[in-house]
Every structure is written in C-alpha cells, then in structure tokens.
C-alpha cells in the first residue's frame, strides 16, 4: 500500500466518523425497530388528521413509512441511508402552510406520547425536524 492510499484511507475514515459519533438519539428512540414502530403510529395519526389528510390522498403510504423511518434514523444518528427525494423537491408545489406543518408535528407529538417516548427524547427529535421548516413550508 502506498503512502498516498493510506492517507486516503485515513481521510475516508475520518470523514465517515461523524455519523458514528453520536447515535444516542437513535438508541433512545429504540433503534431501527423503535423508529419503524413510531413512524407507523405517526402515519396513522396523519391519516386521521382532517387538517392535512387531503395532501396525502395519492400517497403510497408504505413508501412514506419506509422513507420517514430511514430519514428519522439518519437524523437520529443511526446506521441508515435515506433513499428518498430531498425535502424541497418532495414538498414543492404542495403549498404547505405553517398551520399544516404544525399539525403534522402535533401528530408526531401524539404518536410519541402513544409510544411512550420520554419528553427529553421527543424534544431532541422535534428540534431536528423543526430545522426543516423552511424546506417544507410555502413551496
């Protein structure tokens, strides 16, 4: 192995460390199984929410559940890959209002209560999702 390729390998390792650095939120959410379960409850909450259900009339719910699970896993520092479209592309043209965004987040809050996620864990996930507000609302 040449010096160059060693340096390259080390650099690669370093670059990939952040994703392993902190998976505490992932653990708190119960790992893969916990997140998948939570997203199922979440999707059911959305499905019974009159304020926003009209947006999801043509949505493939299985796919949505799978992609939400992947995405939350990544956000939480878990060993996953998000394979969906980026947030702006997905939500462009939907004219999602601020109130609708809040409604969806409330559905997540309800889901987390149902799944008995501790408040401190809820807050960590909510804060991460709140960051995406501008990538979802008013597009």
């Amino acid at each position: 192995m040449s010096i160059k390729s060693i340096i390259f390998a080390v650099a690669l390792l370093c670059a990939s460390t952040p994703s392993h650095a902190d998976d505490s939120l992932y653990q708190e959410l119960g790992g893969q199984a916990g997140i998948s379960q939570l997203m199922e409850t979440f999707v059911l909450e959305i499905a019974s929410d009159d304020r926003i259900i009209h947006h999801f009339e043509k949505t493939d719910i299985e796919r949505l559940h799978r992609l939400l699970t992947e995405q939350v896993c990544v956000i939480a520092g878990g060993p996953c890959e998000y394979t969906g479209e980026d947030m702006v592309t997905v939500h462009t043209g939907m004219n999602i209002t601020r109130a609708e965004f809040n409604a969806l987040v409330e559905d997540l809050m309800t889901a987390m209560e149902q799944e008995e996620v501790p408040v401190t864990t809820q807050n960590r996930l909510l804060a991460a999702l709140a960051e995406m507000h501008s990538e979802v609302v008013g597009l």
Binding site: R98, A99, N102, A127
Partner: protein, 281 residues
C-alpha cells in the same frame, strides 16, 4: 371575586363546548401564552412577543381571562379579552380593579392594547419573534392618584418584545425566554395615574421572562418587571413572580404564581398569590 369566578366557569365551559370545531388552532399548545394583567398575551405581569390564542397565518383566535392577584394589603382583579388574526395582529382589552383592602376604597382602569408581530418566529428559524405594541390606559379613579402627585389620568405605554423557544433546550427540555422594553409614565402600572411630581417623562423599563416546559402541558418560570418611580409620596419598586402554568387543552389554561410586588403606596412587603384562568376560542 365571586362574579369573576362565575364568569370564568362560564368561559371555561363555553370553551369546552365550542372546541375544537370552531377555532383555528394552527399553533402548538401553550404558544399563545397566558393573559397578562394588562390584557396582552404574555405571562402574568409582562407582555410577551407572543400573540394570543392559537391562530396561525390567515386564522382568527380569541381569548378571555380572569385574573386575581392577592397580596397582603391589596387585591387586583382583571378581566381581559383579546382577538388575534394571522398570528400577526392582536387587539386586547382589560378591566382592572385594585382593591385597597387595608386603606379602603378601590382604583380602576381600563387598558386597550394593540400588538403587531414585526419579524421572526417563536419556534422556527434563527430569528426570535419580534413584536411591537402599545397599551392605552384610562384610569377612572383619578382623585387619589392626583392627590398623591400623579399628573394625568390616562397614558400610553409603548413596548418592543423579543421571544424565543428552544424546543431542545438545557436538560433537553423546551425553554422560552422573552425580553420586553417598555416606554412608560405609568405609576403602579397606571393604577396610580401617569407621570408624577418627581418625574413626568417617559422612561424605558426592561421586563424579562423565562420559562421551562416540564412536558407539553406544564411549564414553570419566572418574570421580572422594572418600574418607574415618579411619585414623591412613596417609592415604587420592581415586581417579580414565579409561576406554574398548566395547559390541559388548547381551550383552557391556568396560571398560578407567587407574586412579590414589594412596597406599594408605602405599605411594605406586598407578597401573595396570583391566579389566572384563560379560555381560548
């Protein structure tokens, strides 16, 4: 007080019945705050940058509240109502009755408030929520204030406020902070009139509030409000309170607090309790 209790229970039941079909509830629970003693959305003694009710963009909301503050020698009763549109404009009105339990008699004033959200958002983005507002106050019992040196029976406070919520704040709890700068001539918030023998100019008074949510329905916090000192007959002091707020639903909320109003009209150590019940429509 009995009257207020009756009204408050009526309000509460009306809110329960009216909900949730009629109200536009586009914001998270508790983000409407409580009704402050001057009628504006806020905490207890400080108006916050937050707008009343849960109205988001394009939505309407309203609140009604009764508040009682009971300290050693005085009792303050407040009826307050507010209307919010678009999470941007807030109109409010409050009727204050200040019972001079020990001295005898009462002081009364009406407060009309307007608040406008200028920029930013309480929860999303990096900017805090900035609001500007005014409170126009009319004292209808000016004989006593005038006798102790007050210059006017009405006055207008102007304020700017900034508020921010950290969903994932210290200890992974949700926190709120608010700072308000108020330009005012009011003596004891206007109950003792406006301007005085010692000072008749506007002064800028900072007011702050900090709160922590234990969960989505319960919050604890404290507020501190500085006040001018315009009257020679008795020194006026800052106020503070330590509160517990309960938001069981988006329709009703209750705030209980310990209030320290220091000395008022020369009567020292006015501490006691504060209780406020709010219905949101």
């Amino acid at each position: 007080m009995r009257h207020n209790l009756l009204i408050s229970s009526l309000l509460a039941s009306a809110a329960f019945i009216a909900m949730p079909a009629e109200a536009d509830q586009g914001r998270f629970i508790a983000t409407g705050g409580a009704t402050s003693i001057e009628g504006s959305a806020g905490g207890g003694i400080v108006p916050w940058a937050t707008l009343s009710s849960y109205a988001e963009e394009g939505q309407w909301g309203a609140t009604a509240a009764v508040t009682e503050v009971s300290v050693d020698d005085f009792r303050l009763s407040v009826l307050g109502v507010s209307l919010t549109y678009d999470n941007r404009f807030e109109l409010s009105a409050a009727k204050q009755t200040f019972d001079l339990s020990t001295i005898g008699g009462e002081l009364k004033q009406d407060v009309f408030g307007v608040k406008y959200r200028v920029a930013g958002d309480l929860i999303y983005g990096d900017l805090p929520q900035f609001s500007v507002g005014l409170q126009h106050k009319r004292n209808s019992t000016f004989a006593l204030p005038s006798a102790v040196g007050a210059q006017s029976d009405s006055g207008t406070d102007y304020y700017v406020s900034a508020a921010k919520v950290w969903l994932d704040g210290p200890f992974h709890r949700t926190w709120l902070a608010n700072i308000t700068l108020r330009a005012t001539k009011a003596n004891q918030i206007g109950l003792l009139g406006f301007g005085g023998d010692q000072n008749n100019d506007y002064e800028i008074q900072p007011e702050v509030a900090v709160g922590m949510f234990i969960n989505r329905n319960w919050a604890v916090g404290a507020e501190y409000r500085t006040k001018p000192d315009n009257l020679g007959f008795a020194e006026e002091h800052d106020w503070y309170d330590i509160f517990v707020a309960y938001f069981p639903t988006k329709s009703v909320s209750v705030v209980a607090a310990y209030a320290d109003l220091d000395s008022i009209a020369g009567l020292a150590d006015q501490t006691g309790w504060y209780l406020s019940l709010q219905a949101t429509f």
